[in-house]
């Protein structure tokens, strides 16, 4: 058997499938997956597609991008109703909430209820009230969240450098960020560190602004903050690259990222889920619903079992915070 054909056979063999899943017996009829993204293409959808393709699942995709514009939801919902896809993939908290609504405020006129929805890249589905708990959504929804538990992020930070004071910038109108802050305060008591928090200022329309951030960072530095933690906060995510991270590093404040987006914006280190892996895991859940015929409410909401610890060596040298030797074994170094 030629090498190429062998490879092909291996691909058919379905490397990722558990042995209980029938490998060859796929239906020929393609299923249609309606994909709604928030801000264009990411590695998530790539991982999703690759996973299903590798398993030879017959899939057709219908792709729509929200373009960060929430006003387009009614049109999207109408299109979904007209097309009646077999499954909807929603990217991020905003899109997911727009399509399925909060679990305690579902309006069948505004939201999709009769088509299975798999969400992905939602930082905290419970505090965003998309699901009541992680065991079951109780409705036609399941999904994958992507942020490591706050506690494991704290342990990762401490493994890099032990700390006594933790700084955090957050948007006071984002529920998820408030939940993370509460969690940090509780963990601070048990793990023995102080939380020095600064909310972004709000304008007249209660929208967060970047005003005064450099001063807040200076205050933190003066208060003896050892790490600046950058939570999975939507507004913060957009401001990291240009304002937050450069200012913090200029002050000698090390930054710790909670998402791949913030890590890419230049943070010193981060414990993050690879978007590609998140996409693969989401596809695994979608395949459970589409091909193993499991009801979405019976599929638990989960995240990865392994995270990537990323370190930006150039920043480490700039801040004179050389990573501990053990991390040269396990961490990934980025530019």
């Amino acid at each position: 058997m030629s090498n190429q054909r062998r490879r092909a056979c291996l691909a058919i063999a379905g490397i990722f499938v558990q042995s209980s899943v029938p490998v060859f017996a796929r239906t020929n009829k393609a299923v249609r997956i309606f994909v709604v993204t928030f801000r264009g293409k990411t590695e998530v959808e790539k991982g999703f597609r690759d996973y299903l393709a590798r398993h030879q699942y017959p899939v057709e995709y219908i792709e729509r991008d929200l373009g960060r514009d929430s006003s387009r939801f009614p049109a999207l919902i109408a299109e979904i109703r007209a097309l009646q896809p077999d499954l909807i993939l929603t990217w991020g908290t905003t899109v997911t909430e727009g399509i399925v609504g909060k679990y305690n405020a579902v309006d069948p006129r505004l939201h999709i209820t009769n088509i299975p929805v798999v969400f992905t890249l939602v930082a905290a589905p419970v505090s965003a009230e998309l699901v009541p708990n992680l065991i079951s959504s109780g409705r036609n929804v399941t999904g994958v969240y992507h942020v490591a538990s706050t506690e494991s992020q704290l342990h990762a930070m401490a493994a890099y450098r032990p700390f006594k004071r933790l700084g955090i910038l957050y948007t006071p109108t984002e529920n998820n960020s408030l939940a993370v802050l509460d969690e940090l305060r509780v963990l601070g008591k048990t793990l023995g560190f102080a939380v020095i928090d600064r909310p972004f200022r709000l304008d007249a329309a209660r929208r967060p602004t970047i005003d005064g951030v450099p001063d807040m960072l200076r205050e933190m530095k003066e208060a003896g903050v050892d790490w600046l933690y950058l939570p999975p906060d939507s507004f913060l995510g957009t401001q990291c690259k240009d304002i937050v991270i450069p200012n913090a590093h200029a002050l000698g404040l090390p930054t710790f990222a909670s998402t791949e987006q913030i890590m890419d914006a230049g943070a010193l280190a981060g414990l993050i889920s690879r978007y590609y892996s998140i996409g693969q895991f989401t596809a695994y859940k979608a395949s459970q619903i589409l091909f193993d015929k499991q009801a979405p409410m019976t599929v638990p909401i989960e995240t990865l079992t392994q995270y990537s610890f990323l370190i930006r060596m150039a920043v480490a040298k700039q801040l004179q915070l050389i990573p501990p030797l053990a991390m040269f074994d396990s961490a990934e170094f980025v530019k």
Partner: protein, 805 residues
């Protein structure tokens, strides 16, 4: 048919062993000296033989562990590379760098034969040898991987080749493939071959010296001991001390041998460990860092130091040889001892400096210390053996006037047989578990209990039938037949390849067990007068007791070292030792005394069942006691001990503790329960204490739970067991008058043995449904319920009857 439990309370009233010096004393002294010498010899042979075995296997396991550790190092880089590749979207079959990495890693240790990665369906994907890449990997890997708890396995593939492997998971926890390393164990075998003659020489030397010193002291003791009745005690103490001395001498000689023969492997291990550290540092420096800039170096070094038994310290030196980083074990005294241990190993870190790895001189001592519990067990068992031998070869007086002479003759063969059966206790559930790998996981715990249940059931049901056989063929023939059957059973157990064969083998063993039980009792009945019968049965019960102390502990050690199958063969051998001793027993069929009354018929049993108080004792005390014994001690405990990461030897020690409590407390409890006429109270408190043991699972776990359970059950059971059987005589007084006590006790024992069979079944079902913690609690609740029923039906009713009267 008579049963031993009935006689427990009467045992201590007789003092059969009172002799005075008579004119034949000198002749007796001569035979006794020979007997004492034999006892000393046997004790030394046993203890030093076990010590040789322990030392040899400790050494082998340590060497194998060192080799395995070295080999496993090769997998670290592969696993990291694999995880990284998957997380950036590479497929298992499309990792281009993998073949080169596998080929490179296979050079890490000379023992490595091949490194292979395969998918979850048995197909190979990569291999260090490209020709092997797409070939199917051994099926045994897949089986071992599925059976492993943490996704790691280690199996022996064929002679001289082992494999170690891991399940590779993607970053959402799905099993993606298998990584296996095949390696040669020729290094292990070579060091075994080198050590073995030296170890034998050392053991033999200790043996000869101990024997010589012991014999001299025995001679002196016999000459100067004026009170012959104290001779047994003094000589057994002396034999004990000499055995202890022999064991210490063996350990002292093993110490330098261990050092000498382990050192080469240890050095290799240290070199590899240092090499990995050096590579890590070079990798870090590749990011443009200077050696002295590195952070957290000590943490990395310390972690390795804790994991490696044989390492004393790490030092990182710069190119000018001044120390930059240094960590040392607490036990390291701060400077190398050139006479005692090899000099530290130096490895270069690129051209930036070097790393020094120091070897720990105390490691061999640590290995010996780890064996000390096993050696202690051997010593205790040796003591019981000595007492057993001295009981078999009386050292004092003239045997002809001993009314129990014929009863004594059966003690040794019976002891040997029960010892062989008891050997299997600590490892039987684990062994059954390994045989039932193919069976549905949810049923496995029930299946594991099945052979114990079947064994108990056959023993219970076969006894009445075997009673008839003993009348037909005579006790000696039945005893011989039973032993032969049991030997066949043990050998089939040793060779069983699946659970069905094993269950069949256990049925054979159970038939042998029952036959020996029946014929030994029959023998004592035949050969004792009414006055000495209790004492005769006490001998029989004593033999069983000593066997329950010695058997499990030695069985656990053997199973850990030579394996379960070989231990079954040892059990067969021990049972066979009893056969020549059986020929001293009277043959033929003697007239049976009161045997007709002893036979249990189902129809008779039903009559007795109408006695509600008799049934109350059975259901609320006798059956629960046996359910707790077989369910907790024989089934749950060995499995639990293994599940908390301990050894079969530990399970054996636990069962030894249980038996120890029985032996210590049972005679005292029996005496006081009679004296105070407080049998019911003893039974009730026994059940309550047993319940406490189970309830302990609510607040404790691990080792603490196991030891607490064993102590509670030991105390609880010994308080209630004899009181139960004597209580039967009062609650079923009218039936005893009507049918005779043999009949009543026959029914009672039958019901009790049903409890024996029920125990593992119940525990297996509970374990499957709820896991260990809840099962122990359920067992506690069972005992509590039994206590409540017992209180209501026996104590409360009696009290109200008295009031009414």
């Amino acid at each position: 048919m008579r049963y031993p439990g009935f006689f427990h309370d009467r045992v201590k009233k007789q003092q059969p062993n009172q002799y005075v010096l008579n004119k034949n004393a000198m002749a007796a002294l001569k035979t006794s000296l020979l007997n004492l010498f034999i006892a000393l010899l046997l004790s030394l042979v046993f203890a030093l033989g076990m010590a040789l075995l322990l030392n040899y296997y400790k050494f082998s396991n340590t060497v194998s562990g060192l080799v395995r550790d070295n080999v496993a190092v090769a997998a670290q880089d592969i696993q990291e590379n694999f995880g990284l590749s998957l997380s950036v979207g590479m497929d298992l079959s499309a990792m281009e760098g993998m073949p080169a990495l596998l080929a490179r890693q296979s050079k890490v240790d000379p023992s490595i034969i091949a490194i292979r990665i395969g998918d979850m369906h048995g197909r190979g994907v990569y291999a260090s040898d490209p020709a092997l890449a797409s070939a199917n990997y051994p099926e045994a890997w897949q089986i071992a991987a599925k059976a492993s708890k943490n996704g790691e396995w280690n199996i022996r593939e064929q002679d001289g080749v082992e494999s170690i492997g891991w399940i590779l998971r993607n970053n959402f926890g799905l099993a993606v493939g298998l990584l296996g390393i095949e390696y040669s164990t020729s290094q292990v075998e070579a060091s075994q071959k080198k050590l073995f003659p030296a170890l034998i020489k050392a053991t033999l030397l200790s043996f000869c010296v101990s024997l010589l010193i012991g014999s001299i002291f025995l001679l002196l003791l016999c000459r100067f001991c004026r009170h012959v009745e104290r001779l047994t005690f003094r000589t057994s103490m002396l034999i004990m001390l000499v055995t202890l001395g022999g064991l210490l001498a063996v350990s002292l000689q093993a110490l330098p041998l261990f050092k000498q023969h382990l050192l080469p492997k240890l050095e290799q291990n240290a070199r590899q460990s240092g090499q990995i550290k050096a590579e890590l540092i070079v990798r870090a420096m590749g990011h443009g860092l200077a050696l002295e800039e590195l952070y957290g170096v000590e943490d990395v070094l310390r972690r390795d130091l804790i994991e490696n038994v044989g390492l004393a310290y790490f030092s990182v030196l710069d190119s000018a040889n001044s120390v930059l980083f240094h960590v040392a074990k607490d036990t390291w005294n701060g400077h190398d001892e050139p006479d005692d241990v090899a000099p530290p190993i130096a490895l270069p870190i690129g051209d930036a400096g070097s790393i020094l790895v120091g070897l720990d001189a105390a490691f061999a001592g640590k290995l010996l210390k780890e064996m000390s519990l096993d050696v202690l067990v051997v010593l205790v068992v040796a003591m019981f053996f000595t007492l057993e031998v001295l009981a078999f070869l009386p050292v004092s007086g003239d045997r002809s006037c001993d009314p129990l002479r014929k009863s004594r003759d059966i003690r040794a063969p019976v002891f040997l047989f029960f010892l062989s059966e008891e050997l299997t206790r600590p490892f039987l559930p684990g062994f059954v578990g390994s045989l039932s790998k193919g069976i549905d996981l949810s049923l496995q715990n029930i299946v594991i209990g099945f052979p114990i249940m079947v064994f108990m059931l056959v023993v219970a049901l076969a006894q009445p039938w075997l009673g008839g056989l003993s009348q037909q063929f005579g006790n000696r023939r039945l005893l011989l037949g039973g032993t032969l059957v049991a030997i066949v059973g043990f050998l089939v157990c040793a060779m069983a390849t699946n659970i069905y064969i094993f269950v069949a083998a256990r049925v054979i063993c159970a038939l042998g067990y029952a036959a020996i039980f029946v014929s030994a009792q029959g023998h004592i009945l035949e050969n004792t007068a009414d006055a000495s019968r209790s004492a005769g049965f006490a001998l029989f019960v004593g033999a069983i007791m000593v066997a329950t102390i010695c058997g499990p502990s030695i069985g656990g050690i053997l199973a850990d070292n030579i394996g379960a199958r070989a231990t079954f063969v040892v059990a067969a051998g021990i049972a066979a030792l009893g056969i020549p001793l059986m020929f001293r027993l009277p043959g033929g069929t003697a007239e049976q005394k009161g045997s007709a009354a002893g036979k249990v018929r189902i129809s008779d049993a039903l009559k007795l069942c109408r006695n509600s108080r008799f049934m109350a004792v059975c259901v609320s005390a006798a059956i629960p006691a046996k359910v707790l014994l077989t369910g907790c001690c024989f089934f749950l405990l060995p499995l639990y001990i293994i599940s908390i990461g301990s050894t079969q030897a530990m399970a054996g020690r636990m069962l030894m503790v249980y038996a120890g409590f029985m032996v210590l407390i049972m005679p005292i409890a029996a005496r006081y329960a009679d004296r105070f006429n407080a049998r019911a109270v003893f039974i009730l408190s026994g059940l309550l204490i047993s319940a406490l043991g189970g309830m302990l699972a609510l607040v404790a776990d691990g080792f603490l739970l196991a030891i607490g359970l064993v102590v509670a059950l030991g105390v609880g059971q010994s308080l209630s067991i004899t009181a139960q059987s004597t209580l039967v005589s009062s609650v079923a007084a009218s039936e005893i008058q009507l049918f005779g006590d043999g009949y009543v006790y026959g029914v009672y024992r039958l019901l009790e043995r049903m409890g024996n069979a029920l125990g593992p079944l119940l525990a297996g079902v509970l374990l499957t449904l709820f896991g260990f913690q809840v099962t122990f609690v359920c067992m506690g609740i069972l005992a509590l319920l039994a206590a409540a029923i017992f209180y209501w039906l026996i104590i409360h009713q009696v009290a109200s009857n008295v009031e009414a009267a």
